[in-house]
Assembly symmetry: C2
Homo-oligomer: 154 residues x 2
């Protein structure tokens, strides 16, 4: 739904989208958005802090969290837990994708959204539950670790 947004421009529309939500446009908020845009895959709060502090040294972690909460509540950002006690954040707006988290080497692969659509459909059909396409991490073993495990237990 709604495919009308400029493909590769990052800066100008954010200001507009914040204004549309009647929230103030502050340098901190724009910088958090830039940090998210720069790491389009996924990024943790303290990584945002490091990134942001490089260009706005006074910025504070509490502000990062408050900003992320705001951006989530207005639908600009999605939050994902990879099971390590740390939350990761990403901009909503790219193609939907999910994360495969390797429990052995902790690598994170990204999966196209449509790989999971048959699952979404059967869960919706059988349980009446609409799975959120943007808040999903699957745990398991990546190809490399799988090979390593098989060579040990043949």
């Amino acid at each position: 739904m709604d495919a009308k947004q400029s493909p590769a421009s990052a800066e100008p529309s954010y200001v507009e989208r914040l204004r549309r939500q009647r929230v103030r446009v502050t340098p901190q908020r724009l910088i958090v958005l830039e940090a998210l845009a720069a790491h389009s895959g996924h990024i943790a709060a303290d990584e945002i802090l490091r990134w942001a502090a490089a260009r706005y040294p006074a910025i504070n972690l509490a502000t990062i969290y408050r900003t992320l909460d705001l951006l989530i509540s207005i639908g600009l950002v999605a939050q994902t837990d990879f099971g390590s006690g740390v939350s990761f954040f990403e901009l909503v707006g790219d193609a939907p994708h999910h994360h495969l988290v390797c429990e052995h080497c902790h690598a994170v692969l990204e999966v196209e959204g449509n790989v999971l659509s048959p699952m979404h459909e059967s869960i919706l059909r059988e349980y009446g539950f609409l799975t959120n396409t943007r808040h999903l991490a699957l745990f398991g073993s990546c190809r490399a670790c799988l090979a390593a495990l098989e060579s040990k237990v043949p």
Copy 2:
């Protein structure tokens, strides 16, 4: 796979399985296992503490966590994060199932394992990634909240 285990008896095989792993059989460990067996769905560490303290008052949260780590490392227990900063634990041995966590009312539904097998297969085929059947929570909207949302935004 392997359907050979007594259906409703809980105590004797645990002792054996602990011994087989060369770890000591202590009342604390058995009580944690009993707590897990009693809540076969999923249970958080502090709920285990409450349950265990009722029959072994001296037991300590740190012990619960250490015991859970041990049980996970020997493959008796699985850990799941529902995205709330709290970990949930369950015995490995029941039929595989996953969890549907409603982001609105925080209800947790259980899904049969095979609903997700087409997804497992396509991910294995396309990414060489073997998803862990026992460490999975899907977030989204349950039937009731879905209905409530639709009536607000028709």
